[in-house]
């Protein structure tokens, strides 16, 4: 690693867009610099600055020449491919369509990373992303032949390594649902009880739900939250069953979800019109709950409104940092980047006229 250009405590935001990766930074979450537009021309679904190692990762999903994972050891200035990247074997008959997500492993395994792809598969690296192996347990799941893709493909888009148990992990696949392993990935069970599927003949099937985003409570490891195509849910038993926490939200539909790590009953979602996939009415709104979904409140201070305001946010287009008060970050599919430095009380438009934003991730430089 080269020496970081950023002072400790600097918040670095990575915006994966339809046309490259934008790197922004701020020392106070109010004044921001756009430091780089890198990987220009690449379709970046996801990018991460790994706080554990300082290495940066990004997905390059090229419609012509295939998808690849890229690594940077100089905070995005130069990029290279892993020594052994993500490719299926010829014998598998599978074709890599898109790389959706890069998820760092647990804090005490700093060389481990996970990646989720379409077609739904989980990949792991134990050497900081240099070489990648397919997790065979999921590959051989007995229901796999009946999995159906959502509109974005058969994508494995959420990976939650349990911070309390190295053998337990949850994943989210559209449109398969939530799955859990309790044995380090050897076997997987569906974990969708009481989550709805409004687009099939059975409302509560074992699997086939369209989960959109999955997050874990930072101190109560059995508590999970998910934004689903058909509602917002909480589980208090590791996904054995789920409770609908949509309550007073205007609708079921949305893609992203974020959690305030210092107040983990505080969650954020962006409720969207399911047809247009943009905000209801004329006010772009981020919804917040402070009591794990018993009640949701609209946060709008600083967010745009008007007859022409129709903004959408994709599943990885929102995140929160680990600071207190939490910073919340939202990138839209029309190229706006909003930041709230005070857990949703107020919002600033930090950047506009960007390409459509696929993902927003933030890191705090150590």
């Amino acid at each position: 690693m080269t020496t970081s250009r950023y002072a400790p405590g600097t918040v670095v935001a990575l915006l994966g867009t339809k046309r490259g990766l934008f790197v922004l930074s701020s020392e106070d979450r109010k004044n921001w610099n756009i430091d780089q537009h890198t990987m220009q021309g690449a379709v970046v679904y996801n990018a991460k600055l790994d706080e554990r190692t300082g290495r940066m990762y990004a997905t390059d999903n090229n419609v012509f020449f295939g998808s690849k994972l890229m690594l940077s050891d100089d905070e995005g200035t130069t990029w290279r491919e892993p020594r052994k990247g993500i490719q299926f074997s010829e014998e598998s008959g599978r074709k890599l369509t898109n790389i959706w997500l890069i998820e760092p492993g647990r804090e005490d395994e700093p060389e481990t990373l996970y990646v989720g792809v379409d077609p739904a598969s989980l990949w792991v690296s134990r050497d900081c992303g240099e070489t990648w192996q397919l997790e065979e347990g999921l590959e051989n799941h007995p229901t796999r032949e009946r999995w159906n893709p959502g509109n974005g493909g058969l994508c494995l888009h959420s990976i939650v390594p349990d911070h309390s148990n190295k053998d337990r992990m949850w994943i989210g696949i559209s449109a398969v649902g939530c799955m859990r392993t309790d044995d380090g990935g050897k076997t997987w069970v569906h974990a969708n009880k009481n989550t709805r599927q409004d687009f099939g003949p059975e409302i509560y099937p074992e699997y086939g739900q369209c989960i959109h985003r999955l997050v874990q409570h930072p101190t109560e490891p059995d508590v999970l939250y998910q934004q689903n195509h058909c509602g917002v849910y909480m589980s208090e038993n590791g996904g054995d069953d789920w409770e609908d926490i949509r309550t007073n939200l205007p609708g079921d539909f949305g893609f992203p979800m974020a959690l305030d790590r210092n107040n983990p009953e505080t969650l954020f979602t962006v409720n969207l019109d399911p047809e247009g996939r943009y905000n209801y009415g004329d006010q772009f709104t981020v919804y917040r709950t402070k009591d794990a979904g018993k009640e949701w409140e609209p946060t709008t201070s600083g967010l745009p409104s008007g007859a022409g305001v129709k903004l959408g946010v994709l599943r990885h287009g929102m995140c929160a940092d680990a600071l207190d008060p939490a910073g919340v970050y939202v990138g839209t599919n029309t190229g706006q980047f909003f930041v709230s430095p005070d857990a949703g009380d107020s919002w600033d438009l930090v950047a506009d006229f960007l390409p459509p934003i696929n993902s927003v991730t933030v890191s705090v430089v150590r």
Binding site: F64, G66, K68, E90, S92
Partner: protein, 90 residues
Amino acid sequence: MSVRIPGQLLARTGRRNTVQVEGGTIRDVIAALDRDYPGLGFNICHETGELRPFVNIFLEKEDVRWLQGLDTPVHPGATVHIFHSVAGGA
């Protein structure tokens, strides 16, 4: 034979837009390209060996899809061109 490399793949070839390889068929040419420039084969074909749908390979002026596909014979001294499909509107 000569193989013309498209701009998006020049990072694979050290910025050389024309490279020399040997092979009796287009499939052999792709295998030779991947041997000389690791990763280039994956950019041209899926893991399953099929030509990617938006990659077009021309033997001289003929699209090999209208010849014998990847099994199209290639004669010594030929020029093979690799392009991606035109992509307006996306």
